[in-house]
């Protein structure tokens, strides 16, 4: 059984990785073996910071040879070091899984000795878990930039999801803050994982290569890139690297010895707005250019969809009884599920505002952008409108930012 202190050290080192989702894989149980994956993902617990625990998130080792400025495990930082053996990790996963504490394993590691050695150990752990411990639950393996592509491909065949963190939104920032990492080393394995051959037969038919795809993560607010830049990059990665998700993590200061990093944490509301924008990219048919305003940053006062709608009042109001799906999706207060409910419901009956309430449309926002059977109940003045959407009348900016602070924190929820 793994030592308690060791587990704590390795967990502390891994917790700043945002990804904890266990969705996207339909891995089946093999008779007599343990575990399967649930396509929707399952959250098993929630910590005091409001994030879900779905996977056992830990490092194999925090003993790093790199010295990235923003990272808590950097070589020059004075923290307790620990390394777990593959068997210790496997035993822990199986015991937690049996008790239904977790949905699977999220395994990452600091760079021990060399990238190849580290990747080998990660692969070995995943391999043992599958073959010796007969585990069919979810495994998310962190890829190590600079490791051999054969190792990365082999890992892709036995785990459900892999991720390479691009860490920072531009090459310049990467050079400055993580001098031992380089863009090519990070991006080329991402390209490998996105190769067409894995999405054609025989891989695709057997669905055995990364059924839950690949993801990435970047730190927001440690470097000066604008939201427009970040969203452009995100959009690019979604279309060329077949990414399932891009995660953003607000910068939290862990290093006060360098002047290269900002002294205060990045505002969480910014992270929240980026996630909202990310959703618009993936599910609502928006492009990155549409979402960001003229100054290249997202509005902190209201969400990106409202901001877009206010800039395009000429397109509104739309009639909910006739509007096509792509237009409904652009109405603030109507989401993907609500829109599909509207499509179903309006086949059978003409919708009025009471009906919309029953369909759980957020009328508080939506009423300014829609008509129901020709009726309009929203605000007619654009000035009032932007004030109403930003947080109600009578609220001054300080109160507003407090309120927004709370919503921003909810971005940490495990669904993200």
């Amino acid at each position: 059984m793994i030592d308690e202190k060791k587990l704590v050290i390795l967990t502390e080192g891994a917790k700043y990785d945002v990804s904890c989702s266990s969705s996207g894989s339909r891995r089946k149980n093999k008779y007599g073996e343990i575990g399967n994956a649930c396509f929707a993902g399952i959250c098993h617990s929630y910590t005091q910071d409001g994030r879900c625990i779905s996977l056992l998130k830990m490092l194999m080792s925090n003993d790093c040879i790199y010295d990235c400025k923003y990272c808590i495990n950097r070589a020059t930082n004075d923290v307790a070091r620990a390394t777990a053996t593959p068997d210790e990790i496997c035993e822990l996963v199986i015991s937690f899984y049996r008790r239904n504490y977790i949905e699977g394993l999220f395994l990452s590691s600091a760079i021990v000795k060399s990238p190849n050695h580290t990747m080998e150990m990660l692969y070995l752990t995943a391999y043992k878990l599958r073959k010796n411990y007969h585990f069919n639950g979810y495994i998310h393996l962190k890829g190590i930039p600079g490791a051999d592509s054969a190792l990365i491909e082999a890992a892709g065949l036995i785990v459900d999801r892999m991720s390479f963190n691009i860490e920072l939104p531009s090459e310049t920032s990467l050079k400055l803050l993580a001098p031992q990492k380089n863009k090519t080393a990070i991006v080329s394995p991402m390209k490998t994982l996105a190769l067409d051959k894995y999405y054609e037969s025989p891989y695709k038919r057997r669905r055995d290569f990364l059924p839950a795809g690949q993801t990435t993560q970047m730190i927001i607010g440690a470097s000066p890139e604008s939201d427009a830049h970040i969203l452009k990059l995100t959009e690019y990665m979604y279309s060329y690297y077949r990414l399932k998700r891009v995660y953003y993590s607000s910068y939290i200061p862990t290093n006060f010895e360098t002047s290269l990093l900002p002294y205060s944490p990045a505002p969480k509301i910014r992270e929240h707005r980026l996630y909202q924008a990310d959703w618009l990219l993936r599910y609502y048919g928006f492009t990155a250019d549409e979402i960001t305003g003229k100054d290249g940053n997202l509005s902190l006062e209201y969400d990106p969809k409202c901001a877009w709608a206010i800039r395009h009042m000429e397109l509104f109001p739309v009639e909910v009884n006739t509007a096509p799906l792509d237009m409904l999706l652009r109405v603030p207060g109507i989401g993907v599920r609500t829109a599909s409910r509207i499509l179903i419901a309006r086949k059978h009956a003409k919708l009025d505002f009471d009906a919309l309430k029953r369909l759980r449309v957020v009328l508080k926002r939506a009423m300014h952008f829609i008509t129901c059977g020709g009726k309009f109940i929203g605000s007619k003045s654009e000035y009032d409108l932007s004030r109403l959407l930003a947080g109600g009348d009578g609220q001054n900016m300080t109160q507003l930012s407090m309120f927004e602070f709370d919503t921003a924190l909810s971005a940490l929820n495990g669904e993200l």
């Binding site: 098993h44 910071d49 409001g50 008790r99 504490y101 939290i252 179903i344």
Partner: protein, 246 residues
């Protein structure tokens, strides 16, 4: 106000529907027999369960609403909502009077309420896919106690059979005094006491302790947000979770 008093089962509900169509009376409320105090202003009609009538109603529901309508009505009866019987009744009544599948009538009051009621049941089921906590007993059987809002034990068992494959387990609903007991391949629902004496395995305490330590370590203290935590993991569930009970 007309109140139907019925047996809380699918047969009881369908017998009531048969009665409603036969007598051309619509109830204002439908309650379980024996669960309600009479008063003098309401009119109570007690409806006996009759298998044959129930079967005929079921056939009609399947014919007009499809198999899914019949299934969803059963799910609705598992709901902990005090009006669940009336909600299911209204939906079934609408299916029979419209003589077609009404599940798409989402703007209709009865359908909308029905839809959100069964959604709540499914949502809680999904929640407990994660929140069930097994303890390993000395004999190797996994045991979990919980107290859900809706009667979801029989919805949970198939999930854990698939997942734990061959490991016997017990999921014990201490609020309803019933348990899903599985030998690893099939399960049965049994009536129980609300407490069980457990003989835990040797390592159980140690693993539970590791889990508690993990739970503490993975929290990011700089971003504390207990309101979010309360929304996603309501306090009423926590007394069964090792990481949150004291």
């Amino acid at each position: 106000m007309t109140v139907f008093l019925i047996e809380k089962s699918i047969d009881g509900l369908y017998s009531a529907l048969f009665y409603a169509f036969e007598q051309k009376t619509m109830p204002d409320a439908v309650f379980e027999r024996g669960n309600i105090c009479n008063n003098f202003t309401d009119k109570y009609i007690e409806i006996m369960t009759e298998k044959e009538k129930s079967r005929r109603v079921l056939t009609a529901i399947k014919k007009y609403g499809g198999k899914s309508a019949a299934l969803y009505i059963e799910i609705c009866l598992l709901s902990g909502d005090e009006n669940a019987l009336k909600i299911a009744f209204d939906f079934a009544y609408l299916t029979l009077s419209e003589r077609r599948d009404v599940s798409g009538f989402l703007a209709n009051r009865a359908v909308s309420i029905f839809y959100y009621t069964i959604k709540k049941v499914f949502n809680e089921r999904h929640r407990f896919f994660g929140l069930i906590r097994f303890k390993e007993t000395a004999s190797g059987v996994l045991y979990a106690a919980y107290s859900p809002d809706n009667d979801i034990t029989e919805l949970l068992c198939p999930h854990f059979i698939k997942r734990l494959s061959c490991v016997p387990f017990i999921i014990h609903d201490v609020k309803r005094n019933k348990a899903g007991v599985s030998n690893g391949k099939e399960y049965k629902i049994m009536e129980t006491e609300n407490k069980a004496a457990l003989n835990l395995s040797e390592d159980e305490k140690a693993w539970e302790n590791l889990w508690k330590n993990y739970y503490k370590a993975v929290t990011i203290k700089e971003r504390k947000n207990t309101r979010q935590q309360d929304n996603l993991m309501p306090r009423r569930y926590r007394k069964f979770l090792p990481e949150t009970y004291e």
